[in-house]
């Protein structure tokens, strides 16, 4: 059987690849893709903990379902905002959004 350590190391790696993407990428959609990777890593984490340690209760699984729903809602709103900004300004590079300055 697969030891828990393998799965956790995998999910940590996925999380930090996503974190890197969200921090390092210029483009708003790429940032969003990085955030999706982070959310997936969270789900793997939750499912692994549930399966290996706490399979008697349902709260881990409920949490995964909640993350699915929230991720979908967040992505829908976020992509709507990104596309709307693009229609106005013809760019989705986060650094180009600099009309607000002190």
């Amino acid at each position: 059987m697969i030891p828990l350590s393998w799965i956790l190391a995998f999910s940590l790696a996925l999380f930090f690849i996503g974190l890197f993407g969200a921090i390092a990428r210029k483009n708003a959609i790429s940032i969003l893709m990085g955030i999706e990777l982070m959310l997936n890593a969270v789900n793997i984490n939750l499912l692994a903990f549930w399966r290996y340690l706490y399979s008697a209760h349902m709260n881990g699984l409920v949490f995964i379902a909640v993350v699915f729903a929230v991720a979908a809602a967040e992505t829908a709103v976020g992509l709507a905002l990104i596309i709307s900004a693009y229609r106005n300004r013809r760019t989705i590079t986060a650094g180009d959004f600099d009309s607000l300055k002190g």
């Binding site: 999380f15 996503g18 969200a22 708003a28 940032i31 969003l32 955030i35 982070m38 959310l39 890593a41 969270v42 984490n45 939750l46 903990f49 340690l53 706490y54 209760h57 709260n59 881990g60 409920v62 949490f63 909640v66 993350v67 929230v70 809602a73 967040e74 709103v77 976020g78 905002l81 990104i82 709307s84 900004a85 229609r87 106005n88 300004r89 986060a94 959004f97 009309s99 607000l100 002190g102």
Partner: protein, 482 residues
Amino acid sequence: MPTVNDFLLILPEVVLLIWALLILLIDLWIPDTKKYYTAVLSAAGLVISAGCAFALLGRTGSAFSNMVVLDGFSSVLSILFLLSGLAAVALAYDYLKRNAAQRGEYYTLLLFSIAGMMLMASANDLIMVFLSLELLSIPLYILAGFFRPRLASEEAALKYFLLGAFSSAILLFGIAWIYGSTGHTDFPGIVASIDGGRANYLLLLIGAGLLLVGFGFKIGVFPFHMWVPDTYQGSPSSIGAFMTVATKAAGFAALLRVFLVLFPAEAPIMAGILWGLSAASMIFGNTVAIAQMNMKRLLAYSSIANAGYILMAFVPYGNPVIAQEAVSSALFYLLAYALTSFGAWAVMIALEPAESDGLLLQDFSGLGRKYPWLGAALLISMLSFIGVPLTMGFWGKFYLFKTAVDGSQIPLVLIGLLTSLVSAYYYLRIVMFAYFKPGEPQIQPGRWASVVAVICAAGIFVLSFIPTPVFQFAAQMIMGMK
């Protein structure tokens, strides 16, 4: 089966959500020229919900098998959120009309967001903490971009969304580690697991750290503040005012409850981190605010500094005696800050012409002479921000500093005092423009913003004569928190 009691305990939230759905429907039949009715209806909903919250004041209990709890802490904060919502509606009505953005969705989304905040203050399960955080954030992403296709507003929304989604993911990862350590998401279960020695300390510590980062973004402390100035400046001003007060208070509500209940054992390590966040926020917010000539940006940096002040009292939270005092002074300060911040924003909104990204400080010139009431409101708000006696701001800072001294955080108190002195410079500069520079500011049509400004200023002044009963009320309310 759900008992009547379950629903009774979340009655204010239920009322508010149902009301939001009704407004969404009714608004379809209200013509664009009569959006006044939508505003009045949503204000009525907020008042009814606040009435329910008042009626439940003093009642305690948990509902839906520990998903949410009702206690003094959540009741007081719920009322604060509802009153902030009322102010946001009053500030919005004329302002949206002026900007030709009178659309019913504003009120529906605002009510959704407030319901999320109320649930956040009473969340007793990490699932609920996460969900209510999203329920308050997602409508605010839209509201920040409410003036689309205006560029500044879209930019504000996009930045708020990207940082908000990023911080949610980090927060979620923290929750996953806490679940991994304890096997529970409900607070009583987690506490039982920790007390029973079954929880792993290291995993909890990782979880606590990640949660702190996630909440740090929401309350906008340095170094998680980068979205704050742009979002507050680009959003509609009524939403900017609402976010500085209510979003921040909601973030603090969750932060205080989660850390007090779940992580007392991690206090020695967390205290150091909180110390750094608090000191950095006070120094950064107050020094950068000096350079700001735009009122909205100035208030944004001031809100970063104020988050630092509130965190100051919370640094020694591991000590149960101090923790009680810290939460009461945080509640007191949030009330004082709400009045002060809404007062300042309201004066600005009363003067702000359509299509503007916030007034410059010069635009306040001559305010004191031409509109004595608004000028006085601005003066009182600024004095309260600094913490001059005879204002609520003074007492707010007094209790925060006192708590920090009791928790022997003398260096932090010194930083707080010094940065308050620095902040006097930029707050008084606004007063100087308003009273000593000639100018012809023009009040915009509609009087609701002025009314809010005067009410807030009166509240700052009048309540400052009875600080002790107010503080004792706060202290009494949080007695049963844990």
